[in-house]
Symmetry: C2
Subunit: 304 residues, 2 copies
């Protein structure tokens, strides 16, 4: 039988005390059939993100234990950071990886949400593909106001109430925003110019929000250490708008401004299919099928 | 602990009776921790090839059972085919895939060889990275003469004797040629010409044997169904000579003859790293590391 694998990339409101993050990671790693693939903490934002993957059942269990551990260890009343947040475990997205779909991930999100409320007493909001209300699809909409304001709003505004549980937020752990989304690719392109305005102008031209490429978020920033301007991007659907299409668009817009590309950076993990699509384009393959990727086949076939 | 995965791609001297091949495949698939990834039979060559992968221990066990099953079911005295062959299980190469090395695969080959002789009484020759004699590195050298002639030669010529067991070959199952090699990529490039001489001339220019690209075997052939000439290639070390280097060389040689590329074909399975290298070149990534490939990380990390 084909094995299914999903990923979970939860964010926690703790980026300074290493033992707190280690406790959460240990709780995740203790679940059989789960592999922890990465963890990063940001001191300024006072947040951490953990990446793990495995069978849907195991990932759901590990996510539950992580939310419970975060609630036990983190008190939002004593938490400050420049990043908006609603909960100790703040955002918990599930992502399909192998033989899985976004619909399955939304189901995992919903089951986890019910359990987080019934066993931990922490109310839950659903976002993106798991959203139960159209106005909660976007994470920013759900989280706007943060823990302090939403704690007050839920008392009087039915529109602000959680999807599961509540209406009051948990006094120290707040609420958890659980969702399902596609794999998010972080892709940056460095330009042979120190003029950040050029990177900003290119970002405006190519990003979805201003009518550019679908599923592309982009900003122009300055890489001070290298004296280069960079177009920094998130691709929220790399199958619909592949890497090589984004690269070609930036190259074209840069050329129109008399600038060349120095190189690009892929940040963090990336599905083989995203690379395969770029390779297939470069090599002009006539027949390439992602089932030809050895590792994908092995992941989907190997015995548990 | 990191999980290791190797692949095995054995060839059997049976391509006509489906139940014989099915029996061998069943014997392989019965081993836990092994995934059968493909099987192909050729009626003219009267041979079959099976592709499977898993942990080194499991793959070694499955290879042993496959050799035993082939010996039980195939009698070389009643086998004819256009392809040279020495044994019922003819060639058994092991290939490193995840967290494994060619040296580890050579050790697996040697252990299997000892066991095939001691338990099945079939003598063994080692080739490529598992060769114990320099003149047996190349498979063609080991197999030259085939079952009928080598069965006679071993009686009188010590130089022809097996590396393990013998000197006489097994009366019906012959001998098994066991080895370790790198992943073999099959890559074809189609040209916008019906002139096969151009494909042949390009093949001569780019192949290793005539001083072209290292680790590239190439021939020019005609695709009758499409009226196109094709450069058909095997890449025996895609890390040393990557896909995009081969593509660029063929494109350059074609252009010198006034011909363009129509497209390319990747045949069968392909490691994600081979695609990642082509993608990284096309996208000019500055920092890409194969450990960023999600599926590779998962394969190496996921719990058994």
């Amino acid at each position: 039988m084909a094995r299914r694998i999903i990923e979970c990339v939860p964010n926690f409101s703790e980026g300074r005390r290493a033992e707190t993050v280690a406790g959460i990671v240990d709780a995740i790693a203790a679940v059989p059939q789960v592999a922890v693939l990465g963890k990063e903490s940001d001191i300024d934002h006072h947040r951490s993100v953990v990446t793990f993957a495995g069978t849907p059942e195991a990932v759901e269990e590990a996510a539950f234990r992580a939310v419970a551990e975060a609630a036990k260890r983190i008190d939002l009343r004593r938490h400050e950071g420049v990043h908006p947040r609603l909960g100790a475990a703040d955002v918990v997205p599930f992502v399909p990886v192998v033989n899985s779909s976004i619909e399955e991930c939304a189901e995992v999100a919903h089951r986890l949400g019910e359990r987080v409320w019934s066993e931990l007493g922490i109310p839950v909001y659903f976002y993106e593909a798991a959203a139960r209300r159209e106005d909660r699809r976007r994470l920013e909409n759900v989280r706007r106001g943060g823990f302090e304001k939403i704690s007050q709003w839920v008392l009087t505004d039915p529109e602000k109430r959680p999807d599961v549980g509540g209406p009051m937020l948990h006094p120290s752990a707040g609420g958890v925003i659980i969702g399902a989304r596609k794999f998010l690719l972080a892709f940056n392109i460095n330009l042979a110019t120190a003029d950040v305005e050029i990177a900003k102008a290119i970002a405006v031209k190519i990003r979805a929000s201003s009518g550019g490429l679908p599923h592309v978020k982009a900003m122009g920033v300055m890489l001070a250490s290298r004296g280069l301007a960079q177009v920094t991007m998130n691709l929220t659907d790399f199958e619909a708008t592949p890497l090589h299409v984004v690269y070609a668009a930036v190259e074209r817009e840069a050329a129109a401004r008399g600038v060349t590309i120095v190189g690009s950076e892929i940040i963090g993990l990336m599905p083989a299919k995203a690379l395969a699509m770029a390779a297939a384009h470069a090599l002009r393959t006539e027949n390439f099928d992602e089932r030809q990727i050895l590792e994908s086949r092995l992941l989907g076939n190997l015995i548990d």
